[in-house]
């Protein structure tokens, strides 16, 4: 076979959430196509939500993703509260932020230590890696467990929490439940710093992309539940402009819809985007740790997302600790949200990037339409463009090395295929 012309495929991407594959085509020494195929079966959430009661949206959409159910619940609540003209008091917003911190710690803890780190250290999984690097794996598991404990303490259950409702919570958690987590959070802050130092020293492939980043930006805090949609190329918009900022198209190789800027530019969401647009609103300690890890003001190497995720674990631990120290149980635990005919928008920062929900509801609260844009659906086009560039720059590698490099790159975006709809498949075709 002419080494200049080949096809490479990865039929089932491992250590990603959901079912996907990669297909890469190389002709005459040029990478002509990179498809991140998403073949996870569609579940039609936007259709099945029609005719359901607006109060049901958080619990139903949580089931889109078992790894980031809080993100779905938060975006759904925000959209319905927007539709009904409800503004939440600070106590409820703070408790939602604690809940979101738990999800970031859990999701990033899982990805950094169990899914992504094995690539850098040359292991197929964390169990085998633990035989050589027991400290790193145990630290990751303990951080992840703390994230789950936070979600459980506020949400009642780690996966698909039961305590979230429109307007707030069913019950404000008892003071001692949250305070009981303070010692572990104090440990976690130091553990997160240890993880940052550990991943900062990894060997990162030399690869940078001049990204257009999109993330929420809030004047007072690192974004989770609130902010304006903002681009690193200039421009910021209210969340309700999301459909104009990013337009959806449906491509044949995916059960997820892809989103791009109206001019066709693929954008990147998630940790690198949040960091580039919000670095100055990290906690001082997280900012110092990021600088010591060599991150600079912007990080354009997708492989280094593991470092940014570790910094966000630290940020989330510090934020959770601060908010819990200031917590006092409150009554009522939720504001009443009365339905009215109209529409509402919600966008929050899921671990993987901005998650947008839009609903139209009738006067009796029945859902007329739903639109959900998960961050992986936005990142998919960007990932494909990056894979073309990455493969082009590494064409001298043998197929198995090139395949491994591409797979590792895909994992660095932490794609959530159940969210986007599915599973990753990587194929490299080199034509004779």
């Amino acid at each position: 076979m002419n080494p200049e012309t080949r096809t490479l495929r990865v039929d089932y991407l491992a250590r990603v959430e959901g079912e996907g594959a990669l297909h890469l085509e190389i002709e005459g020494g040029r990478v002509t196509r990179a498809e991140l195929a998403i073949f996870e079966p569609p579940r039609y959430f936007e259709a099945l939500l029609r005719g359901r009661d607006f109060h049901e949206a958080p619990d139903i959409t949580a089931r889109i993703c078992g790894i980031c159910p809080v993100a779905y619940m938060m975006s759904a609540c925000q959209a319905m509260e927007d539709a009904c003209g409800v503004a939440l008091p600070p106590a409820i917003q703070d408790l939602r932020r604690v809940l979101y911190c738990g999800e970031w710690i859990e999701s990033h803890g899982l990805h950094v230590h169990l899914l992504h780190l094995p690539d850098f250290l040359g292991f197929p999984d964390a169990v085998q890696m633990a035989r050589v690097h027991p400290e790193a794996v145990r630290r990751g598991l303990r951080l992840k467990k703390l994230g789950n404990a936070l979600v459980e303490a506020v949400g009642g259950r780690a996966i698909h929490p039961v305590n979230v409702r429109l307007g707030g919570f069913y019950r404000a958690p008892p003071l001692e439940t949250l305070q009981g987590l303070i010692p572990e959070l104090a440990w976690a802050i130091e553990a997160a710093e240890e993880t940052i130092r550990f991943v900062a020293d990894l060997d990162f492939p030399d690869f940078e992309v001049d990204y257009e980043f999109i993330a929420l930006v809030h004047p007072d805090e690192y974004p989770m539940n609130a902010g304006r949609l903002t681009s690193s190329r200039g421009g910021d918009w209210p969340v309700s402009d999301f459909p104009a900022v990013l337009t959806e198209t449906h491509v044949s190789h995916s059960t997820a819809l892809q989103s791009r800027r109206p001019d066709g530019t693929p954008v990147l969401m998630g940790p690198l985007a949040r960091y580039a647009l919000n670095r100055e609103r990290l906690t001082p300690r997280a900012r110092v740790a990021a600088a010591a890890a060599g991150l600079g003001t912007v990080c354009r190497n997708p492989y280094q997302a593991i470092v940014v995720r570790a910094v966000e674990i630290l940020l989330a631990c510090e934020e959770a600790l601060r908010l819990i120290k200031g917590y006092a149980p409150f009554e009522p635990a939720a504001l009443a949200v009365m339905p009215r005919a109209g529409e509402g928008h919600g966008a929050t920062e899921a671990p993987r990037g901005t998650l947008y929900h839009h609903y139209r509801i009738a006067a009796d609260g029945m859902i007329d339409s739903a639109r959900i844009v998960p961050p992986t659906a936005v990142n998919q086009a960007r990932i494909e463009a990056d894979l073309v560039a990455l493969a082009q720059a590494n064409l001298d590698l043998a197929d198995d090395r090139l395949r491994a490099l591409c797979e590792q790159a895909i994992r660095s975006y932490d794609p959530c295929i159940s969210c986007a709809t599915h599973f990753l498949k990587l194929d490299v075709v080199r034509h004779p």
């Binding site: 089932y12 491992a14 250590r15 990603v16 959430e17 959901g18 079912e19 996870e40 079966p41 569609p42 579940r43 039609y44 959430f45 936007e46 259709a47 099945l48 029609r50 359901r52 009661d53 049901e56 139903i60 089931r63 889109i64 993703c65 078992g66 790894i67 159910p69 899982l110 169990l114 899914l115 094995p118 197929p124 999984d125 964390a126 169990v127 085998q128 633990a130 794996v137 145990r138 598991l141 303990r142 467990k145 789950n148 009642g156 259950r157 996966i159 698909h160 039961v162 305590n163 409702r165 069913y170 019950r171 198209t249 449906h250 491509v251 044949s252 059960t255 819809l257 159940s418 599973f423």
Partner: protein, 258 residues
């Protein structure tokens, strides 16, 4: 299962990943478990994918495409013991709401090019396609139950799983009854226990995520809820969520459909 460590496989069909994530959520036990069983096919956690046969297969998700209907047959053929984990695998999951509607309309509502999408008209539980050795309920499953099952299999005894209704567990835990005290609709009396009566503990009604208990008296409960002023469409929605095609809930949901 003597000699070599049993070979464990985890399979995903239409689902949210939450039930298999429960295995990774066993943070205190995962490494020890990894020494006792071989993760021979667990792509969410490992790129070390080995061919079958497997001693234990954990199956998450429901069957929604022609491809998956064929794939579950291969999984069954390669597995000595097949355990379904969670509401999707045992009762179709939330995506089974399409069974009450027109999947083509669904496809057109979500996708600009519905012709790119290959999808069955229904979402069905694994047991509708192949014999299942053991079912774990819940949306999501409770990780303690998964550990109990794996431990029992490793030691060669039958797993001890909770029996009865959420209502019984709730009373045993001493939570005030949300239905009696506050008139909040609650599926506790007709739902299998196992969650720890979480919803009533938080002051909300059970929404049935563990599916119907055996001999669930759904009609008596519906009568009570109707007496509290619940409309027929609301009753149908109550039974029709994450276990909508579990027979007892499906029948009761249809009964109130206008």
């Amino acid at each position: 299962m003597t000699g070599q460590a049993p070979r464990l496989a985890v399979w995903k069909f239409a689902s949210c990943d939450g039930c298999q994530l429960s295995l990774l959520d066993c943070e205190d036990e995962l490494l020890a478990l990894g020494e006792r069983v071989q993760f021979a096919n667990f792509p969410e956690a490992s790129s070390d994918i080995q061919p079958g046969p497997y001693d234990i297969s954990l199956v998450e998700g429901s069957i929604t495409t022609p491809h998956d209907a064929a794939r579950i047959q291969q999984v069954r053929a390669a597995s000595r013991m097949l355990i379904t984990i969670g509401a999707c695998a045992t009762a179709g999951g939330i995506q089974a709401l399409r069974n009450f509607d027109d999947v083509n309309a669904y496809r057109q509502a979500v996708y600009a090019h519905p012709e790119y999408i290959d999808s069955l008209a229904t979402a069905t539980p694994i047991a509708a396609h192949v014999p299942v050795d053991l079912e774990l309920r819940g949306c999501p499953i409770r990780k303690e139950q998964l550990l109990e099952v794996l431990t029992a299999l490793l030691h060669g005894h039958a797993p001890r799983l909770p029996q009865g209704s959420v209502c019984e567990s709730c009373k045993a835990a001493g939570h005030p009854c949300v239905l009696v005290a506050h008139g909040v609709p609650c599926l506790g009396p007709v739902t299998q226990t196992g969650c720890g009566a979480l919803c009533p503990a938080h002051g909300r009604g059970c929404y049935g995520c563990f599916g119907p208990r055996e001999q669930a008296n759904t009609s008596a409960l519906s009568e009570r809820l109707a007496g509290l002023g619940m409309s027929k469409p609301a009753l149908t929605r109550l039974y029709r969520t994450f276990n909508a095609v579990a027979p007892a809930f499906e029948t009761e949901g249809r009964r109130h459909e206008s």
